[in-house]
């Protein structure tokens, strides 16, 4: 066993100490999801990549990993889309602009946007999977000339839980975006497309070798999307996936987020598909 130098190296970070940040805006998106705008002290940028996450904490309640929903091109503040699913998120949902929460991060790999330069970008978002992928979508829109087509496929359980209504309407109108929307079950008022997200894929006209797909959604969705992309003959090396796990510490120590030997908080949550194909626990 190699012996390690046991002195904490100079510049060793306080791994578990959050920075106090201010909530500057709260928007109700659906009955379950709110979008929070967060400002770090002094308005400094978070310095994240699309696809990364932060650990959000409320003292005395707890801490949880939340994906960053805004593009790094947004300056002075960042967005977190938060679904109310447990005690912590329920408490966060009660918070108002001006209140402060703890932030650690950004953590994880995120999308390496240099690899996307000049490529067509295909976004496949299921449900709340749109929240992290919005960071990528807005990055592409804010650097539009650097990328080819932007094709967004968004699937939701129903038309009553669709996210980012204003932006969605803008994407529908924007000639720079090809936006496809489907819901599993529409309400009587729904006039749009009905069907699961995979029904959007066969009809897409893609320049396959030049298209990079970015997939995020509920666990059940991935294998069906992979099948659909496979029958579309999209090369495997053109697929990126963002996976959900319980990233408790965010710094590669606590073990909760592991997929086989890979720490999602370090190597993920965005993975290049060929890199995780051999990880049997991935899906």
């Amino acid at each position: 066993m190699t012996k390690h130098e046991l002195i904490a190296p100079a510049g060793t970070k306080d791994l578990y100490l959050p920075v106090m940040a201010e909530i500057t805006d709260v928007r109700q998106m659906t009955p379950l999801e709110k979008l929070f705008e967060i400002r770090l002290p002094g308005g400094v940028d978070l310095g994240h990549r699309p696809g990364q996450f932060v650990e959000v904490s409320l003292f005395g309640v707890g801490e949880a990993p939340i994906s960053i929903s805004s593009s790094p091109t947004k300056k002075g503040a960042f967005d977190l889309g938060i679904r109310k699913v447990g005690m912590l998120t329920e408490m966060i949902h009660r918070m108002q602009p001006g209140e402060r929460i703890g932030i650690r991060g950004p953590f994880g790999s995120g999308f390496d946007m240099t690899k996307f330069k000049g490529k067509d970008v295909l976004v496949i978002a299921g449900g709340i999977g749109l929240v992290p992928l919005r960071s990528l979508i807005n990055y592409v829109l804010d650097n539009r000339a650097d990328f080819g087509r932007l094709v967004i496929c968004y699937g939701s359980k129903s038309d009553t839980d669709l996210l980012f209504e204003d932006e969605r309407r803008a994407w529908e109108q924007d000639p720079r975006v090809e936006f496809h929307l489907t819901v599993d079950h529409g309400s009587p008022a729904w006039s749009g497309r009905t069907g699961v997200i995979t029904t959007l894929i066969p009809g897409l006209d893609l320049d396959l070798p030049n298209t990079l797909a970015c997939v995020c959604g509920p666990p059940i969705m991935y294998r069906f999307v992979l099948l659909a992309l496979k029958s579309k003959r999209l090369p495997e090396e053109n697929i990126y996936m963002s996976l959900e796990r319980r990233m408790k510490c965010g710094v590669g120590k606590c073990g909760h987020c592991q997929i086989n030997g890979s720490y999602v908080c370090q190597d993920g949550p965005v993975y290049h598909y060929p890199d995780i194909k051999a990880l049997r626990e991935a899906l």
Partner: protein, 337 residues
């Protein structure tokens, strides 16, 4: 470096000599047949000839419960409690437990170095001791003979009438200084043999684990497993933890606490919304064993199991990690033959 003869009758005086310099932690008898590391109060209570302690000395560097932050809820602020170096001597540590500490060092130094662990660990001196393997020890199979001195400052080799005290580092030399001992001139007795073995060279384990992900043994062992997590709890190289917040009765103060956690527990991979990524006990059992023999080992080139036998000795369902690994080896050989 030097080697001295420490006769049995002088052991207590030697411990007192160590106590005059630093806090000394050593194995003590707890109950009828259990042993635990504890701070030494009376040298004569120290037990140097013991099979294994319930927990390793890991508990001093990575405490079972540890406050990471303290909160002032009225002001919505937090602070990090100061972590003090231990400046202590760990006396009577078996070779496998010393190796386990070196492995934890690796886990807490590489990637993101963790100050809490490193601060506690850096001043710790270790006095190893030889032992007679019982039916659970198998550290010899993972490259750690019973008399291995790696990572120790001093080592007590059991010999006729007492111990051969081997000095291994300048810090160890300083510990002994001032305590008069005769030189030990005869050869060191051979370390005691192991009763339990993994029947494969370490180098081959990589292939064995690469080919046994779907082995039936995972399901078979999971049939017996009660997912109690005891194997994680007693493992000297397990370091996974959970983090939880708590508030005091005034609801003005609180803390964020880290606690040992275990991958054998169903809740370990549960995410918000209720999805559990290793739902089946078989998947959890496999994960535990792969963590010890593949995932970290593929990077470091050595098993992350130190062969202490604790998980097997403490298992409430008689699941043996040695039997599992030997089964994987046999099945691998049968397929390759």
């Amino acid at each position: 470096m030097a080697r001295f003869y420490l006769e049995k009758g002088k052991v207590a005086a030697f411990i007192a000599h160590l106590q005059s310099q630093k806090t000394v932690y050593a194995p003590h008898r707890k109950g009828r047949n259990a042993f635990a590391f504890a701070p030494v109060e009376r040298p004569q209570d120290v037990v140097l000839d013991y099979p294994r302690t319930v927990s390793s000395i890991k508990k001093y560097f990575l405490p079972p419960r540890e406050e990471l932050l303290s909160f002032n809820l009225a002001e919505n602020t937090c602070a990090q409690p100061a972590v003090a170096p231990l400046d202590a001597v760990f006396l009577g540590v078996h070779s496998y437990d010393v190796h386990a500490v070196l492995k934890l060092d690796h886990n807490f130094v590489t990637g993101n170095p963790e100050r809490n662990y490193l601060t506690r660990r850096q001043g710790a001196l270790i006095v190893g001791v030889g032992f007679t393997p019982d039916r659970f020890h198998f550290s010899g199979s993972v490259g750690i003979p019973a008399g291995d001195t790696t990572g120790c400052d001093l080592f007590l080799h059991p010999c006729e009438g007492g111990y051969a005290l081997e000095v291994l580092t300048p810090a160890g030399e300083k510990l002994v200084a001032g305590f008069k001992l005769p030189a030990h001139t005869s050869g060191l007795p051979a370390a005691a043999p192991f009763q339990q073995h993994i029947y494969v060279p370490q180098a081959k384990l990589k292939d064995v684990f690469a080919h046994n992900y779907d082995n039936a043994v995972w399901e078979e062992e999971a049939e017996k497993c009660m997912s109690c997590g005891t194997c994680n709890l007693v493992c000297p190289t397990c370091y996974c933890f959970d983090v939880e917040d708590a508030v005091d009765i005034t609801v003005t103060r609180g803390s964020r606490e880290r606690r040992w956690d275990g991958c054998m527990l169903r809740s370990f991979t549960e995410v918000a919304g209720g999805e559990v990524f290793r739902e089946e006990p078989a998947a959890r059992q496999r994960h535990r064993v792969y963590r010890k023999f593949k995932y970290i080992s593929d990077e470091t080139g050595e098993p992350w199991c130190v062969g202490c036998g604790r998980c097997t000795a403490s298992c409430t369902a008689d699941i043996s990690i040695v039997s599992i690994v030997n089964r994987l080896v046999n099945d691998y050989d049968a397929v390759k033959a």
